[in-house]
Symmetry: C2
Subunit: 359 residues, 2 copies
């Protein structure tokens, strides 16, 4: 109110002067971990800071301390509910730890991802979290691994979400196991002939889910022909397109289509309907992830629930944990893929109306 028009934010120096103490004392009062400063001084500093509306310059703190309070988060697509839920979890947990999260989108491009990792390193983030699958075979993978390793060597922590191809701390989904159980349940419901609509570029996540589904079917006598696995983009439109192709080609006895993630399943659902069929009756459908939307479509979708937000929280917790191998797996399910340096998050089959019993 009294200060006329200072165009630059108050500095620690200003606060110290205002309070009539030294820079060090001001610093200690405001931030110093071990508070060992005369209460009166401390109060004066606090008052001065409040009066000047002082906020510590985080960049300067970072430079002086040699460490930041930043966590960098890389996702494929921010608007995708799968990733935005994970991001929400990361941000929530970060907030609790007084960490700031910076976000970037790879747009599913490995080159771009690598470039972003390089760039983000400039922030010297304490943690780097990479969510989202990459192609199972990818020529930039080596470079990425090198880059991340260098980052870790300099004290950073990297955590991978649902991608076990690299040797870093990792939070895994039970992709394979979840899909396998789904397959079993579906066969239990009476289904015998299946088709799959899945991501096309050899994405690890998609591949694992498909593999698990296959294994489940094999165990209980369901049938999935190779010709009935159609590949498409790992998006809503990809799902729509995949299902449409399947239908146009002729269903020929197929009773249920499994889309390897929910956004695809939702797209597939619309494709089925647009083709004049009644989803759930003429052709059953199941997805994976349990994004919020699937409860509101008609019929509600059978899926495999993954606690997406928890996944994000867990990733950050794992990053911050002193011992990567310990804390992480504590409450993890006995998943198929207990990662040596991380945990696995349980997936749960949720049966809904899109896969009625046809026993």
């Amino acid at each position: 109110m009294s200060e006329p028009s200072r165009t630059t934010p108050a500095t620690l120096h200003d606060v110290a002067r205002e309070a009539g103490v030294s820079l060090a004392t001001a610093s200690r009062s405001l931030n110093g971990s071990t508070r060992r400063v005369n209460e009166e001084y401390r109060q004066r500093v606090l008052d001065a800071a409040a009066k000047l509306n002082y906020t510590p310059n985080l960049s300067a703190q970072a430079v002086a301390r040699g460490t930041t309070t930043t966590v960098a988060l890389l996702v494929a697509d921010i608007a995708d509910p799968y990733f935005s839920s994970i991001a929400a979890g990361v941000v929530a947990e970060a907030d609790a730890e007084h960490l700031i999260v910076t976000m970037a989108a790879t747009e599913r491009d490995p080159e771009r991802e690598l470039e972003l990792v390089r760039q983000l390193r400039g922030q010297r983030p304490r943690v780097m979290i990479l969510a989202g699958s990459r192609p199972t075979v990818d020529r930039t993978e080596g470079a990425l691994a090198d880059e991340l390793a260098a980052y870790e060597a300099s004290g950073g922590r990297v955590v991978l979400i649902s991608r076990n191809e690299l040797d870093f701390r990792t939070v895994l989904l039970e992709n394979r196991g979840g899909a396998e159980r789904l397959a079993r349940e579906l066969v239990g419901l009476g289904y015998r002939r299946f088709a799959v609509v899945t991501g096309g570029e050899g994405l690890r996540t998609a591949a694992d889910r498909l593999e698990g589904f296959r294994a489940g079917l094999a165990a209980v006598g369901g049938r999935l022909d190779d010709a009935d696995v159609v590949r498409s983009a790992f998006t809503r439109d990809g799902g729509y397109d995949g299902a449409r192709r399947l239908i146009e080609r002729g269903l020929d006895g197929i009773e249920l289509v499994f889309a390897t993630n929910d956004v695809m399943a939702v797209g597939a659902l619309s494709a089925i309907r647009d083709a004049g069929l009644t989803p759930g009756r003429d052709l059953a459908i199941a997805g994976f992830d349990d994004i919020p939307t699937v409860q509101d479509v008609t019929p509600p979708l059978t899926t495999v629930r993954v606690p997406l937000e928890e996944l994000g929280r867990r990733a950050l917790r794992l990053a911050l944990a002193e011992d990567a191998d310990a804390g992480a797996d504590a409450d993890a399910t006995a998943g198929e893929t207990a990662h040596p340096r991380g945990g696995s998050v349980e997936a749960e089959v949720v049966l809904r109306a899109s896969t009625p019993g046809i026993g």
Copy 2:
């Protein structure tokens, strides 16, 4: 490869030494705006940087330059498709400008929002973007305004998205106009009796949409009784709950319910169905925003389309524009609320099966 186990990232100093030049030359070669350095030296520096895998320390640069490359983004809820779409736009545009975006969630709590703004100021972000409506009456608003004003006074740019209550650069949605046109079209379709399900805490956005809807109805003879405006949380569950209450109370001739945003509409849709009614036939429904999901529910929802991602892009562009009043409104629609310091984004009515003609 050759460097054994340096535990700390390469510094500019290292690069300079490796290249056999001075710190200044290294700095100039790597970043200097006006490049005025011997090509040979420059190349040596570049090579050295590459060899050492050098990345400039952004914090240090920020301290030295007195300015950052950060944009801070505040949203209510990251997992909400409305906000995640906006965020995607901000991130995309930021990326193009070589800016880094940090993200935080207010969880719709004004106190928390204020706290976050204070905290985020520590980053000395170049831009601060606040998305999401606040209560129309809110006792922390003054404090927020002061805080933001102080931030602007120190050279920062704040941009508000869809909240015109404060005197800052603003990107507005055509909330009022969009809702008004929707009302007119709906009456044109033959509807006469309406109900509204809307956000409860007096949110500005919700209020504007309701007001516009009312105005539209009034103009063409639609009827909306005060008793038929039910308030609830501005979320999917809020929409479900609102519609449920409406139905339990007795529809009494109401033909269409307008939910003031799509996530509520989707919830309402499910409530209608769960009540044993057929949405679109027994009770029509319309929303606002055109989030992706509404095309995949049954029936697809009539809504008012808002280019959410563009909104985010626009916000950042507006922040970066030299003259707030110029560039911004260039391609803006002649909205009802042409903000003095920003633009308005056009909203377009999209009629779908959830509101069949009943002429």
